[in-house]
Amino acid sequence: MAGLVSDPFDNWTVQVRKGILELCILNALEDHERYGYELVKTLAALPGFGITEGTLYPLLSRLRAQGLVKTRLEESAEGPARKYYALSPAGRASVAPMNEYLTDLFSACRELRQK
């Protein structure tokens, strides 16, 4: 993928998006559980925030292994069972401080620019 990064700005945007992707997933799961493609659709619609299933599902798997996300399998008579993702208690406890940290970071970054 390195060939896709054409200059320092592009490289930086890739790193920023990678950095906040986990938080975006946790935020999207805060209100209610979602299945994987529902998350892909939601996040892909954010302006400037591209994502594909090749990125999202492995990340969901990692968040689950870290205990931040839990899954529930819903059986269906009409097709294969669907896996729903939701915040675990640990994930719910983490999401607020993560958002606060990011907000503080943005504020500090803006303050530097105004000085």
């Binding site: 896709l4 659709k41 994502i51 594909t52 990125t55 990340l59 798997s61 669907r82 896996k83």
Partner: protein
């Protein structure tokens, strides 16, 4: 391919989904996720989107549309750059100019076309030549307009309709007139520009026009690219029974009339029916009677997939004499 939620997948749709799943499979495995979960999730997601739109057949276009909307830029690729303000303004002006020109051209085209073909003709679609059509293929004429009040030599006619093409990746779609004999004036010669077009696998609308050089029967056909026997033809004309020898006998009555309303709901001989009930009703009425006459009534605004669903329901139980009437 039968989907899980009352959705039928066309071959091309299934192939497009499989290609996509194959492309992302390795990245998903490398990331420690389950590719079967992703594939099953995606198929069901597409089916749910289509069902919400009352579409029961998944085509390649449907798959590509959903994938295009969801598979934006990979996280490892840079997002589209925000253009500088001057460039943005220039682009906006250029877009506005382009839209204005396109609109003017479209209005001119519509106006000139309306002027060229001012008369809407009442026409009868005749039973298509079933032995030629491959499974999944169909042509339906929905409108005939002309510069004369009747179909006659010397007049020019605009024919509009719907096609479904499943048996070939691409095909020619042509409008012709059956010549009384090879010696008829103009019977042999190059086609006019508006007489033919090329269509791709899937479903779409068409517009073809032709000046009638000799008396005969209008028909629209699928033709293999590169030549060969036509692969399905529909005839139509002003008379309830076609005059040309090659045209087929037109059924003068219908044993069953299925109406598709503008919102996609169905009635079977005047009684409301669900998609699920339609197959059973057809089977009860026509089991072992493939020559029974079925009339499907729709409007020009009917979603093509709804028409195709009803059509396929009739074909599935072996019915051969199906007419489509639009208004």
């Amino acid at each position: 391919m039968k989907g899980s939620l009352m959705i039928t997948w066309t071959e091309s749709a299934r192939a497009a989904l499989q290609r996509h799943n194959q492309n992302v499979r390795q990245a998903i495995i490398d990331g420690g996720a389950d590719p079967d979960e992703v594939a099953g999730d995606l198929q069901r997601h597409i089916e749910e989107e289509l069902l919400a739109a009352k579409i029961h057949v998944a085509t390649m276009d449907d798959v590509q549309r959903v994938l295009a909307r969801m598979g934006a830029t990979p996280i490892d690729a840079p997002p589209p750059r925000r253009p500088p303000k001057v460039l943005l303004l220039t682009s906006l002006l250029a877009c506005a100019l382009l839209v204005a020109l396109s609109l003017a051209a479209f209005l001119h085209f519509r106006t000139s076309r309306a002027q060229s073909f001012p008369y809407s003709l009442v026409f009868y679609p005749y039973t298509p030549s079933w032995w030629q059509f491959s499974p999944g293929d169909l042509i339906a004429v929905t409108s005939v307009k002309g510069d004369r009040k009747h179909i006659e030599p010397g007049g020019s006619y605009l024919i509009e309709g719907i096609y479904w093409l499943a048996s070939m990746d691409r095909a020619g779609l042509s409008l012709s007139i059956t010549a009384p004999s090879r010696d008829s004036p103009g019977a042999i010669g190059p086609m006019q520009a508006g007489q033919q077009t090329e269509v791709a696998r899937g479903v779409g609308r068409f517009s073809l026009w032709e000046t009638m050089k000799y008396p005969g029967s209008f028909h629209v056909s699928f033709n293999p690219i590169g030549g060969g026997e036509s692969r399905g033809t529909v005839y139509f004309g002003e008379e309830p029974v076609p005059a040309a020898e090659t045209a087929l006998k037109n059924p003068t009555h219908s044993d069953v009339t299925i109406v598709i309303s503008m919102d996609g709901t169905l009635t079977f001989n005047g009684k409301a029916t669900s998609d699920e009930q339609l197959g059973d009703l057809l089977k009860k009425a026509f089991d072992g009677s493939p020559d029974a006459n079925v009339l499907i009534k729709a409007t020009d605004a009917t979603h093509l997939e709804r028409l195709k669903f009803v059509w396929d329901s009739c074909r599935r139980i072996g019915l051969k004499k199906i007419r489509i009437q639009t208004r």
